[in-house]
Symmetry: C2
Subunit: 491 residues, 2 copies
Amino acid sequence: MAEKITPRAQDFSQWYQDVVLGSELADYSPVKGCMVIRPNGYAIWEAIQSDLNRRIKDQGVRNAYFPLFIPESFIKKEAEHVEGFAPQVAVVTYAGGKELEEKLVVRPTSETIINSMFSKWIQSYRDLPLLINQWANVVRWEMRTRLFLRTTEFLWQEGHTCHATHDEAEQFARRMLKVYQEFSEETLAMPVICGIKTESEKFAGALRTYCIEAMMQDKKALQAGTSHNLSTHFAEAFETRYLASDGKLASVHQTSWGVSTRLIGGMVMTHSDDKGLILPPRLAETHVMIIPIYGKDAAENLRVNEHAEKLAESIRKMGNQGPWSAPIQVRIDRDESKKPGWKFHQVELLGVPIRLELGPKDLEKQQAVWLRRDIGTKEFLPLDSIPARVASELPKMQSELLERARAFRIQNTHSVESYEEFKSKLESEGGFFEASWVPDAEVEKRIKDETKATVRCLPYGADFEPQRTSTPCFITGRREGTVKALFARSY
Amino acid sequence: MAEKITPRAQDFSQWYQDVVLGSELADYSPVKGCMVIRPNGYAIWEAIQSDLNRRIKDQGVRNAYFPLFIPESFIKKEAEHVEGFAPQVAVVTYAGGKELEEKLVVRPTSETIINSMFSKWIQSYRDLPLLINQWANVVRWEMRTRLFLRTTEFLWQEGHTCHATHDEAEQFARRMLKVYQEFSEETLAMPVICGIKTESEKFAGALRTYCIEAMMQDKKALQAGTSHNLSTHFAEAFETRYLASDGKLASVHQTSWGVSTRLIGGMVMTHSDDKGLILPPRLAETHVMIIPIYGKDAAENLRVNEHAEKLAESIRKMGNQGPWSAPIQVRIDRDESKKPGWKFHQVELLGVPIRLELGPKDLEKQQAVWLRRDIGTKEFLPLDSIPARVASELPKMQSELLERARAFRIQNTHSVESYEEFKSKLESEGGFFEASWVPDAEVEKRIKDETKATVRCLPYGADFEPQRTSTPCFITGRREGTVKALFARSY
C-alpha cells in the first residue's frame, strides 16, 4: 500500500488505476480481461447490492437464479440479439471429458434462457405481471479492459419482467430507470442524465433502451445503467404467450434492466482525488477512523486508548437515528508498529469519510482533531460535541458530494449550435454537449469517426419522450425532426 | 400449483421432487443438469446467505470475488487436485470468435486461481492470517442430477485462508466446521454429525477433510458441508510463501471450506411432509399467513379485513424483541377469487409456519383459528393472545424441528459389531451405523460395492481426532487401530 498516486491532471487513466490498485479495491488476474475484486472493493459491492436490492424489491420484483450456460441455439433465436452478442461470447465445447452435442454459451445476458422458463411458467393473464431479478456474473469477451469499467467477466443484476400490454412494459422500463437514477444519486452520490439511446446504441433485441449517463472528473461520460422495453421480440422468438381475459393467446411484453460492478468504477472517477478514494458515506464500510496518538508513556497510551474506545462507543450510539438512519461504523487504529503519518495517509487512500486524531495533549483539552476526507481541513472539536457532529456530517457529506459532482457536470456541459463549435470545444475543453439534432445513424457514425464522441442519449422530457427543439440540426442544418441530444466521449 | 404430492412412504425420491417443484422452489432448465432456482427457493438461499455471512464475518473473514475462469494449466499444478476434478470440468475453448491459446476451465472450486493471487498479495508474516470468502457459482459436470442435491452448476460459498503454521490452519479448519454445525442446527434446524473423512473421501488436494453429515427422513445421509486443512499442498504448487519473522521463506498453511445450495435440499428432506414444505421459521419469508374467511356480505368482509389488518399489525410489533429477535413477517391472503380450502392447501404446500383463519363468526367470539404447520392441530385462540403466542411459538417451533430431527436420527442410528449384522440391518431398517473399524481403503471399497453404503465420517472426539475403540474391527476383526466410524447410504 501507500504507493505513489499519479495526479489526475497528469494522466487520468493512470490515476484511476493507481487509486483502484492502491486502495486494494481490485487487482488484475492471470485470466485475460478478468479482474479480482478484493475485500475493500467487494465491501462496496455488498453495500450497493444491499441498497439496490431493497429498491428493486420495493417494486414488487423477486430474486431468482437461472443457469450460467445457454444453449447456442437459444442465442440465435432473436435476430438482433445474436448479431449483437455473437462476437463477444465465450463458448464451452467440451465437458465431463466429452465434446458437447450442443455448445454452451457462457451467459452474456439472460433474456434467452429466462424466456425459455417464462414460456413454461406463464399460462394466463393471472400470471402477469411477472417480475424477476437475478444477481449474477456474466461474460462478454472484451479486447480492451479496464478495472471495473470494462472486464470480460463482471457482476451485475439483471431484471426481467413480463406484462400483458405494451404500455405496462413501457411504464415499467421507465420506472426502473427512475429507480437507477435515485439509487445512483442518493447512494453513489453520482448525478446522472436520464435519456433514450439512439437506434444504433440500443440493446440488441430491444424496442427502446433508456439509460443513465454520468460525467466523470475527466469530463467523459459513463453509461451507468440501462432499462429496455423489449416489446414482444423475445416473447415471439420463445413463444412466451399468455391467455388473455378475452380468451385469446398473446405474446407478453417484456422489459430487462441492469447495472453492474462498473458502478464502482464510476463512483471512484466521480469523487476521488489525488490522495486516493473518497467514498460516499452510504458506501463506506468504516465511517470514522480514530487514530490514537501514542507516546512513550505506556500508562498514558492506555488512557488514550480508553478515551478512544469511549468516543467510538458514543459515536456508534448515534447510528440508526435522525437523518442518517443507518449504523455508524467506527474503528480505532491501535497498531503501535505504524506511525500516525502513515495511518493518516492510509485513511486518505482508503477514503474513510471522517478521521479523528486523539493524543495526550488533546485529552488535556478534552478535544480531538477532526478531518473530513473530501474537505481536508483540520478542526479541533470538543470531545462531547463529536458524536452529534458525526451524525449530522455523514448525510451532509453525502449530499455535498452529489451537489459538487452535479455542479461540475453543469459547468462542463455546453450548448452548441454548429458542428465546428462542437468539434473545437470538444478538443479544447471536453465535457458534455447539448445540441439540436435529427437522429440519423449515418450522421452518428460520422461524428463518432471524426471526433470519437458519441450520442450518449436523447434526454427525455416529462413524457419520457425525446424533447423536440426549435433550432436547426447542429450538423445537417435540417429543421424537421430535431430533438435535444447529448454528445460526449465516453468509457 | 396444488398438484398431488406422492407420499414419502410410497416413493421418497418422487415425494422430494413433487415438493420442490410443487412449492416452486426450483425447476428443471433446458440445460442438462442445471436447475433454475425460483423466487420461493431463492428467498431461502438469501436467508441462508444473510445468516451464514454474518457468522463467517464474525470469524474475521472478508468477502471477495475471483474469476469464473481458471487457466487449464492451473488446475494441473496440484497432482491430486487435477485427478479429482479433471473428469468433471466444463471447458471454454473459444471466445470472442477465436480459438483460445490456453483453454479455460469453468471453476469447479477456486483453490488454484485464488492461490495465484495469494502468492502476489502475501509477502511476510505480517500479512497472515489472510482470511477470504467468496459467494459464487461453480460447475461440476454430473451425470445423475437431482434438484438442489446434485446439479451441474450450483451456488455456494468457498472460504480460503492462509496461516503461518500447520496448527493455526488446523485450528481454523476445525473452527469453520463448528460454524457450519451451529449454522446448520440453529438456522436450518438440521442436526449434524461432525467428523473426519477417510483418505479416499477427502477433498482432492487436502491433508484432512472435516465434514458435517445429516440424516434425511429416508434415513440416508447427506454431506452438508466440508472444511479442509490443505496443509502446504497448493501453496507449494503456486509458491504462496511468506517471509517468517526469523527471516526465512516458508509456504503458507491453508484451509478451504464450503457449503452450497444443497443445504436447501437437505432442509427440505429433513422437515417436510406429505402435504408439502415445512420451513424452519428462521428461513421462512412469511411467518404467519392470515386467511380471512369471506361471506356474501360485503360490509362484513370489510370488517373481517380490517380486523385481519389490525391483527397483522399487532403481530408484526412483536418482531425484533424477546427470544425471536428478528422481524416477524405477516401476510393476509385477500384474494377473493380463491376458496379458503385452496388457500389452506397452498399455505401447507409452501410451509408457512403459522396459519390463522379469521371469519365473521370468529370475530363475534373475538377469536381466530390457529394452526402450526408441523403440528397441524387447530386451536381457537382469543385474538388478543395471538401476538404473544406467535412471538413465543416461532422459536419454539424452530427448536422443536431440530429436536424432532435429532430424535429421528438417534432412533435410526445403530451400533453394529459384525458385518453380517450391518448388512442385514442396513437392508431391513436402513439408517446410520456406528461400528468399530480399522480405516482401510480396500475394505472401504468392498463395503461400498457390496452394500452401497459408505463411510460417512470418523466422528471426532473432544480433541478433533478419530475416537479410538476397544472392540475389534466389525469387518476384519482386527484389534489394532480401531476407531469409531459412521456408515450409511448417502446422497
